[in-house]
């Protein structure tokens, strides 16, 4: 089991990238296909630059989505990143 904690610094693994801006759908392209990036998922992945910690990303998201519940943003961001990490889409920077 791989843990993603607020201190983790992650980036997309080689061979994984977001679809171009303006493409018909927001997708995370991976070797075996594509994952649909729904809601704020694309923004979360875009913020992973291999330098920011997950804590900083969550703070930025909480700032950006100020009307949403801050605790929920944290839980859902960690859940998404854990799923992607387990799938091998993300790696430690």
């Amino acid at each position: 089991m791989i843990q993603v904690s607020p201190d983790s610094v992650l980036r997309l693994a080689p061979g994984c990238r977001l679809s171009d801006h303006g493409a018909p759908q927001d997708l995370l392209l991976i070797p075996e296909g594509a994952l649909r990036m729904q809601g704020p998922a694309r923004k979360i992945v875009e913020l992973l630059n291999g330098e920011r910690s997950i804590r900083e990303i969550i703070e930025q998201l909480q700032h950006h989505y100020a009307s949403e519940d801050a605790a929920r943003i944290e839980t859902e961001t960690l859940a998404l990143l854990t799923r992607l990490r387990e799938r091998g889409v993300l790696e430690s920077a």
Partner: protein
């Protein structure tokens, strides 16, 4: 029901420095002089991108045998496609790999024939194993997606644990353990390649244990030999549902093997827009829905999951492309597969034959 293509397999050439005994290319290969030009492929990739295709698999033969391979990668990337290069590694070097990555290559799938050099070269019909090891090291040093592809069969399956151990330290993110599928040249050599039931069962155990141990570190995709399955594979996830393949001279097919089915005319991307071929050409519609299905498929609960299995395999084994895939234990023709398995498991042994390359 409308179907959107998701992936395009571009067989850019049939030329190949390897002569694998299980090659999936058709028995009749196309010559270099018949191959599509760079401009033809650029147009095809553009059309595919506009149709919503996401992934482009550049394959062959050996795609690196095309001198314009860097331009093809560039063209695919401009069409917003995810670019996967399926290669033996022969023809690759540092500068070429850098140029490909610079052009937008996302992912390399490097094939291995075995983990031991002697047998690997024997199965490939070429001295390529040592070079492949060097290529693996070179790919690992660069930021590009990396999958190892290990083709397994009766003569190398007993080394599966060593293959997985190699994959683990190779730097690849993913390994595909693919049992030979019996089409093209592989069907000719089937009786020499099909593993025994005991080997297959053991391979499943090994892969399951390795998956558990390597979770999150190395992804293992495993393709079983469908002759041993209870139900058929959902071949290509349905005929003309998600995928199209274009052969070196531009014929557009729903899969690698469909050219064997008599009475179907596959249109050329030289003559027709890709969208028309996908949406309207008779060959793509022939097995797309359920109207062709015989019993027991027609009333089977699994028909929406496996689509009656593989049309090409049905033809190759029964002579009728509209038959239930004979690997299905419910198929009236399943006895054909049972007989083949009885011979293999009864100790019958055959030598394989090598194929020759097109000019």
């Amino acid at each position: 029901m409308t179907y959107e293509p998701k992936a395009l397999i571009a067989e850019v050439t049939h030329r190949c420095p390897l002569h694998c005994v299980y090659c999936s290319n058709p028995l009749e290969m196309q010559r270099r002089s018949e191959e599509l030009s760079t401009g033809d492929w650029v147009s095809i990739f553009q059309q595919a991108g506009e149709m919503g295709v996401v992934q482009l698999h550049l394959t062959g033969g050996e795609p690196l045998a095309r001198t314009d391979i860097v331009d093809l990668v560039k063209a695919g990337r401009s069409a917003r496609l995810y670019i996967n290069l399926i290669t033996s590694g022969v023809g690759l070097d540092g500068p070429k790999l850098d140029a490909l990555i610079q052009a937008g290559l996302d992912h390399v799938q490097l094939s291995f024939q075995d983990i031991q050099e002697g047998p690997a070269n024997e199965f490939a019909g070429a001295r390529s194993h040592a070079l492949k090891l060097r290529m693996a090291a070179m790919i690992r040093e660069r930021r590009v997606g990396f999958t190892l592809n290990m083709v397994v069969h009766r003569s190398n399956l007993d080394r599966l644990e060593d293959m997985i151990a190699f994959a683990e330290q190779s730097g690849a993110q993913r390994v595909e353990i693919a049992h030979v599928q019996y089409y093209g040249w592989a069907l000719k050599n089937r009786d020499a390649l099909l593993p025994t039931r005991a080997q297959v069962d053991k391979s499943i155990e090994i892969v399951e244990a390795a998956r558990e141990r390597l979770k999150g570190r190395l992804r293992i995709d495993f393709v079983l030999p469908d002759y041993y399955a209870k139900y058929p594979k959902p071949c290509m996830n349905g005929w003309g549902h998600q995928l199209m393949l274009i052969d070196p001279n531009g014929r557009v097919l729903p899969c690698h093997a469909a050219g064997v089915i008599p009475g179907l005319e596959f249109s050329s991307a030289r003559e027709h827009p890709l969208r028309w071929i996908w949406e309207e050409s008779p060959a793509f519609q022939r097995f797309r829905d359920e109207s062709w299905m015989p019993e027991p498929c027609r009333s089977c609960d699994r028909r929406t999951r496996d689509f009656g299995g593989c049309r090409c395999q049905a033809f190759l084994l029964t002579g009728d492309a509209s038959a239930t895939d004979p690997v299905c234990t419910l198929a009236p023709s399943h006895g054909i597969v049972e007989n083949i398995l009885a011979q293999v498991n009864g100790g019958a042994h055959k030598e394989w034959v090598y194929r020759v390359d097109p000019i």
